[in-house]
């Protein structure tokens, strides 16, 4: 039996009838066409599918779409506003925090949550905050640098911070 799921994704409302077994990540990719959220594993290790659900970082492969009923979601597509990159995106670009780019949306979303919780993290706190995300290309060196750099930018311009969880255009 299908169930109704009504969500707000990146500020836009959506309503669909879905099978209960539909994973949230498949809902985003296949039903909403938001293919920026990636799938890198079957067991909740890699974090490529990380999105924000009511402001909290969640692995969207380990949640059913029906569980998102009534929730507000932000995906990687919701981070840049009006053609302007989010400071975390800008920092990943500036610091060469990505190579193949496949894990990147998940890292950016995990970093957004991390910096929301802890705006001035130490290097160790950044590494720990990203423990739920795997990258094969970068050796994490420049990812950590990117998050450090984003933290600096965001604390210098607090207005930027609000965009992390506002989830709307």
């Amino acid at each position: 039996m299908k169930h109704k799921v009504a969500t707000t994704v990146n500020g836009r409302q959506h309503e669909h009838e879905v099978e209960p077994r539909l994973l949230l990540v498949h809902y985003l990719r296949d039903n909403l066409g938001l293919t920026g959220t990636h799938i890198g594993c079957d067991t909740s290790q890699c974090g490529a599918c990380t999105i924000l659900v009511d402001g909290k970082a969640v692995k969207s492969c380990t949640m059913f779409a029906v569980q998102a009923e009534g929730r507000s979601l932000v995906t990687i597509e919701g981070m840049a506003k009006g053609g302007e990159l989010h400071p975390i995106q800008q920092a990943f670009w500036d610091e060469h925090g990505l190579q193949c780019g496949y894990c990147t949306p998940g890292f950016i979303m995990a970093a957004a949550y991390l910096l929301e919780q802890n705006p001035n993290p130490t290097e160790d706190e950044i590494r720990k905050g990203l423990e739920g995300n795997l990258c094969r290309c970068t050796g994490y060196v420049n990812i950590v640098k990117a998050v450090q750099s984003a933290a600096k930018t965001m604390s210098a311009t607090p207005a930027k911070k609000a965009t992390v969880t506002a989830g709307g255009n």
Binding site: D42, Y102, C135, R136, T138, G139
Partner: protein
């Protein structure tokens, strides 16, 4: 823009804006209208006879378009899986491989049936209803046992389990060296089997348009032209009827070079079903089915003099080929040819034995044979140093090939093009603070703590490659590279290359080269790759650190031809002799009269007009092939520092320094990124990762990322980088490859550090991965 501004500059990557905003195009992001979804049923057993396959229930399952077994593909796919000669010219037994098993399955994960359905979930549901009856056969897992007479066979109809047994140089070549020796050290060195784990698993979508007889394949590949070659051949189509598009590729590390069964089956399913078909690999399928790397062991002996002079080496490599010969599986024996490393030897004897087992095939994985060679020689040199109570730095310096020796012909006739190994070593020692570390180590040892410092003075051959070497290795196609540079009437430039980035940033670095050379704005140069319908006639792909040293040079040559034509035309326009026209900073002018000039854009526009010099065709474009005269030879020194917990055996990597030399650098940011990633991938091999199968049943025990321990950001130390620059004399850009360097270097540094740490206990050698339980057990036994 001035010539020197782009090459060598940290230019932000062009690929990134789409990738950081979620607008990349990976293969699973694309879905054709009317797509049916494929799901493959795979053998749960490592080795078995297929007695029957019952598809009755599956065929009736909701949404099912069709259920297919081997016989449905028999008439539609011809030939066997390609197995390149690579570095082993003669093979003993190469099992036939059809993309779907009919009678016998030979590894866990081998495809036995395919389901097509309207949705992904319906395909998965139906696949679960297929009943396959198997008759279990003994699984061949242990390489040594597999070589014994009377061993069960990995393929029941095969003669035995020997895929190859090839001697490059016999022991006689080392006899004199071993006679002269004061010391001989021996060791067996293991290379753990690894899963490549690109973050994007593979995926194939195909649309066969029957009335047009045209096939388009979208897939995640490092190598689209080779896939076109193989798949068109197997499907009985002309290469010209097939288009392979590889959009953004989420990492490859070697695992997306060779064709896979799904690369044939998905297009054939599209042909059968007359609609687009899509298949996306799951991580579980990927770890089980994507080709693995390494999976070898080496028996090695080294002879040396008391003063540390290295004399001779005898090495036998045993390669776990897996159940079938990987397309480039015989590349790994290059480890034998590189076993001498950065040192001079009187003689090296080398033999490689490829053993068929009931595991998934092995194939190149980042570094492919060269990490194994480095690990081998760097370990052996340390063992000699230990035996002679020499400092590992001193023994290396004593035996290095010297700067004045280049070009240096090594023991297997390969010509090392350039190097300055002491220089990189000096810099690395400084970077890590070697003298202080040794003092600290002495203090810690007094406190009963186990701290170690490990070296890897690595060299690499890459940039595949020269036609003389590579055409025989592939079975006829030389791994040269071609490029096309096209200038539009308004002076913008489109560059086509046959290499294909899967994270290396070619869209950025190749335009850097061209913009400098043509003196046009960087923004007006676009790179196109990854689509066989566009650009070069044939592309050779990205692997073996070849893209810049072969493909980049081809691009530069094509740009040179564009300039040559531009000169002719400019001379005509300026009414000057061609030899009097010079091209500088984006404009053609007459020697000695800089005011008599035509800008590049003006010449481009004119080339599409009239009044061209006699015999000149319109347009401004050029194709170039680059057949490199030699391979290129990067090198460097890596130093790792570890401390091992005396009670738990847990190794903690505390410091890591790397000084690498890849010749001239196009974009230092990208070079550093490649080194970081490469190092961490090798640290992962040294400390964390191993594909483990049950030794009896052949069942994969590390089938998910829960058990396959790819490290997170928390297991990685700070990595210090520095460089030396020794331009390669092999190509005009003076460049060498850097994509694999970190991986080639790092495992030896880490393991040497662990062995150094444990040397007070008398432990001489540790195999990978050096896990806490393994180290604890060794330490416990050593203490008793």
């Amino acid at each position: 823009m001035a010539v020197t501004q782009l090459v060598g500059a940290k230019i932000h990557r062009r690929e990134d804006p789409r990738l950081i905003t979620g607008h990349g195009h990976y293969v699973d992001d694309l879905t054709r209208q009317g797509t049916a979804y494929a799901h493959f049923v795979r053998s749960p057993l490592a080795h078995a006879r297929i007695k029957s396959i019952d598809i009755t229930d599956a065929s009736k399952s909701p949404g099912v378009v069709g259920v297919y077994t081997a016989r449905d593909f028999k008439g539609l796919l011809a030939g066997t899986h390609p197995a390149a000669p690579a570095f082993v010219a003669e093979k003993k037994f190469v099992p036939e491989r059809f993309p779907i098993a009919e009678k016998e399955v030979t590894y866990q994960g081998e495809i036995v049936a395919a389901v097509l359905a309207e949705t992904k979930s319906q395909a998965a549901d139906a696949a679960n209803l297929i009943q396959v009856e198997y008759q279990d056969l003994p699984a061949v897992m242990d390489l040594e046992k597999a070589l014994q007479k009377g061993s069960p066979k990995s393929h029941v109809d095969g003669p035995d389990n020997v895929c190859w047994d090839f001697t490059y140089t016999g022991p006689e070549i080392t006899e004199a060296a071993f006679k002269e020796a004061d010391v001989v050290v021996k060791e067996r060195i293991l290379q753990n089997r690894l899963a490549p784990v690109p973050m994007e698993p593979r995926g194939v979508s195909a649309d066969y348009e029957g009335f047009d007889k045209k096939l388009t394949i979208w897939m995640s590949s490092q190598n689209p032209h080779f896939i076109r070659l193989f798949v068109s051949g197997a499907m009985g189509l002309k290469e010209s009827q097939v288009r392979v598009v590889s959009p953004d590729v989420g990492g490859g590390f070697g695992s997306k070079i060779s064709p896979y069964p799904e690369d044939y089956l998905v297009p054939t399913l599209s042909r059968i079903a007359e609609r687009p078909v899509k298949w996306t690999e799951t991580r579980t399928e990927s770890i089980q089915n994507a080709t693995h790397g390494r999976g070898q062991f080496y028996d090695c002996e080294v002879a040396a003099k008391k003063d540390g002079t290295l004399l001779g080496m005898r090495v036998v490599q045993y390669v776990d080929v897996g159940a079938y010969h990987g397309t480039f599986g015989a590349f790994q024996p290059v480890a034998c040819l590189m076993a001498g490393g950065a040192y001079k030897w009187k003689g090296i004897s080398a033999r490689t034995v490829g053993v068929l087992t009931n595991r998934v095939p092995t194939d190149p994985y980042r570094g492919a044979g060269r990490p194994e060679a480095t690990h081998l020689v760097e370990r052996m040199v340390d063992l000699v140093a230990l035996e002679l109570k020499m400092d590992p730095v001193a023994i290396r310096r004593k035996n290095f090939i010297q700067p004045e020796d280049f070009p240096f012909t090594q023991n297997f006739g390969l010509v090392v093009d350039s190097g300055d190994y002491d220089k990189a070593l000096d810099k690395a020692l400084q970077l890590i603070g070697y003298d202080e570390l040794r003092k600290k180590q002495a203090e810690l040892r007094k406190q009963g703590r186990y701290m170690g410092i490990g070296f890897s003075t690595w060299i690499e051959l890459c940039g595949f490659g020269p036609s003389a070497a590579t055409a025989p290795a592939t079975g006829g196609i030389a791994l040269v590279e071609s490029a096309q540079v096209r200038v539009t009437p308004t002076g913008s430039v489109i560059v086509y290359t046959g290499t294909h980035s899967h994270g290396q940033g070619h869209e950025t670095t190749f335009p850097q080269i061209v913009a400098d050379q043509l003196g046009v704005p960087y923004e007006s140069v676009e790179l196109r790759h990854g689509d066989t319908a566009e650009g070069t006639a044939f592309g050779y792909g990205t692997y073996g650190s070849r893209s810049l040293a072969v493909g980049g040079v081809a691009i530069s040559k094509a740009a040179g031809k564009v300039i040559d034509k531009g000169k002719k035309l400019a001379a005509h326009m300026l009414e000057a002799a061609e030899e009097d026209v010079v091209f500088e900073h984006g404009s053609f002018h007459v020697k000695g009269s800089p005011d008599k000039s035509k800008a590049f854009g003006e010449v481009a526009f004119a080339s599409y007009g009239m009044n061209l010099p006699e015999g000149m065709e319109q347009g401004l474009e050029a194709v170039a092939y680059f057949d490199p005269p030699n391979l290129v030879w990067p090198f460097g020194t890596h130093i790792a520092v570890v401390e091992i917990d005396a009670e738990t055996g847990a190794p903690l990597l505390t410091k890591y320094a790397a000084v690498d030399d890849c010749g001239n650098i196009i974009n230092p940011m990208i070079v550093d990124g490649q080194i970081h990633g490469g190092i961490v991938q090798a640290i992962a091999q040294a400390l964390y990762e191993e594909v483990v199968y049950d030794e009896d049943s052949g069942q994969l025990k590390t089938g998910t990322l829960i058990d396959y321990s790819m490290p997170t950001a928390n297991e990685i130390p700070t990595i210090l980088l520095d460089k030396t620059i020794t331009p390669s004399p092999t190509n005009d850009l003076g460049v060498k490859g850097i994509g694999e360097a970190g991986t080639i270097a790092a495992s030896a540094a880490v393991i040497n550090a662990i062995c150094d740490a444990l040397s007070p206990l008398g432990i001489k050698h540790v195999d990978m991965p050096a896990s806490p339980d393994k180290l604890w057990k060794m330490m416990k036994e050593a203490r008793n």
